[in-house]
Amino acid sequence: MFEIVIISGKGGTGKTTVAASIAVLEKDNSVIADCDVDAANMHLLLKPDRSKKEKYFSGKTAVIHANNCTACGKCAEVCEFDAVLVKDGIYSIDPFFCEGCGYCARVCPDNAIEMLDADSGYLFESVTRIGSPMAHARLHPAADNSGKLVAEVKNRAKRMAAESAKEYIIVDGAPGIGCPVISSLAGASYVILVTEPSTAALHDLKRLVALLQKFKLKAGCLINKAELHPEMVQQIIQYLEKEKIDLLGILPFDQAFPDAIAAAKAVVETNEHMKKLMASIWENTKSKLKAV
């Protein structure tokens, strides 16, 4: 089983478009994991049926029971997250700021603070419209995304891949370099970096590459939207050579991509030329992967 993680550093470079395309090309032999749980988009293209749904709880949130509270202020004193609010002498917890550490509940002399499970969203196991299994999630707005949910999605994808004897897990990752990304990298066989020739995307790619090097992960890069800044494509290629990152392919800046999204399809289903390009990128990826 190979886990292919698709990330970018900068958002909007085309992660989901690439992941959906690979999922379609490899539909008989892959499971999809949408690990951009904050702003998941894969469901818009692959229409998972959400046949299995579970609630996801992440950590705890404090609640002050006003009846028991004597307004001693000890909770506010110990809270490092400024989550204790006082208005007209009434104490309450701001759930957006509460990290669920429980320090307040432990120091409260009146047992007025209860730690409740934080209902953070849903986990889904699905079959997509292309017939492949998919693990995904829906985080409640403003809920805590500690990377734990990413790990939960990946664990389900792994189990589904084992049960249905699929060779590939296609992981659509989050932007950035923080915990959701680090969590999506755990257990990765190979990382596909999707970038574009822009100053900002290259800056972000470099930070992501430094992160991958910390974890000694093998990676290849796909340069999307090449016509955006053609001179910079060369600069990215040189950078990839220097860092020993495989160049997997180059995709054009083309209206076919937004058109495919508008049609709720992967671009390999709507455009023959893009299908050829993506197929070659995926073949490249597989040969690099198996050489690891």
Binding site: K10, G11, G12, D38, A39, N41, L44, G59, A71, G73, A76, V78, C79, E80, F81, D82, V84, L85, V86, K87, G89, D94, F96, F97, E99, C101, Y103, R106, V107, M115, L139, P141, A142, D144, N145, S146, A174, P175, G176, I177, G178, C179, I182, E196, P197, S198, T199, A200, H203, D204, R207, K214, L228, H229, M232, Q255, P258, I261, A262, A264
Partner: protein, 302 residues
């Protein structure tokens, strides 16, 4: 009655804070924030803060010379074996599984630690004093009426929130920075964004007219509504998709403040790391609409 100075001040009327956010990444937050800040600073003093601490990009577009970077720390408990009686209170109180006992040793997992101080404060023998650990850097720059602060998380650090909070605390504390403040936020709808927009008086959500843009805008709007934030939308790259975003905003009672048409010259300038408000009249018009909208909001802000 006990008066606690650590309780968050509810009164922050001196400043006007605008958060530029989006659910989806890559919709144009940085384009809007940097161009808006640079253009507006011709007329008045303002502060731009780059809170996308995982991937801060604003500085790439700005001709500012930063002051020397300030190292930022978060507090992590450090085990003192001499004082420890192995009572296990610390491992029991830690809700993040960041402390474990291995035989006669206490191990602290730094990346899991949320710096809540519970283990340290509740240790009966003071065997877990909190010690500073580096998490990133903060940079400050100033050019005439334009002030800029950037938070930058060290590579390999998992938690963006402590860094975001540190940057906002710095903005809150400093007396020498302008009242008008623009926060360029991280993408998403979870904890980093919640922390970045929490103190904002107005949120500008930047989106694009695609199904992805609309889906993530809907999530972002839900997030902002749950936090009772006042908000408006800017549609970037108008013309690449359809009018579903505009129609949804109209139907949901959310004002579309401005629309920036897709323009290959604008995309090229952005790719090169250049600001475009001086050369691109369509962008300038959109920014003028944003400034007019915000100025109106500021008048009624008490």
């Amino acid at each position: 009655m006990h008066i606690n100075l650590k309780v968050r001040p509810m009164d922050k009327n001196r400043t006007y804070r605008i958060a530029v956010a989006s659910g989806k990444g890559g919709t144009g937050k940085t384009l809007v924030a940097t161009n808006l800040a640079d253009m507006w600073s011709v007329d008045r003093e303002l502060l731009l803060v780059d809170l996308d601490v995982e991937e801060p990009n604003d500085a790439l577009f700005l001709s500012v010379v930063p002051e020397p970077a300030q190292t930022q720390f978060k507090m992590i408990p450090e085990w003192n074996s001499d004082r420890c009686t192995l009572c296990d209170i610390c491992t029991e109180v830690c809700n993040f599984n960041a402390i474990a006992r291995m035989g006669e040793y206490i191990i602290v997992f730094e990346e899991l630690c949320h710096s809540c101080y519970a283990c340290s404060g509740l240790c009966p023998t003071d065997a877990l004093p909190m010690k500073p650990r580096r998490m990133g850097e903060l940079q400050i720059a100033k050019r005439e009426q334009f002030y800029f602060i950037e938070g930058r998380l060290d590579i390999g650090q998992e938690q963006a929130v402590p860094m975001i909070r540190k940057v906002i605390q710095t903005v809150d504390k400093r007396q020498d920075i302008p009242d008008l403040q623009l926060f360029d936020c991280p993408p998403g709808t979870s904890c980093p964004v919640v922390n970045a927009v929490h103190t904002a008086d107005l949120v500008i959500l930047v989106t694009e007219p695609t199904a992805f843009g609309l889906n993530d805008l809907q999530l972002a709007v839900e997030t902002m509504r749950s936090m009772n934030k006042e908000m408006g939308v800017v549609i970037n790259r108008d013309g690449i998709g359809d009018d579903a975003v505009q129609r949804w905003c109209d139907a949901s009672g959310i004002e579309v403040i401005a629309t920036i048409p897709y323009d290959s010259q604008l995309a090229y300038a952005y790719a090169k790391g250049k600001l475009s408000w001086k050369t691109n009249s369509r962008l300038r018009e959109a920014l003028e609409e944003i400034i007019a909208y915000v100025s109106e909001k500021m008048k009624t802000h008490v």
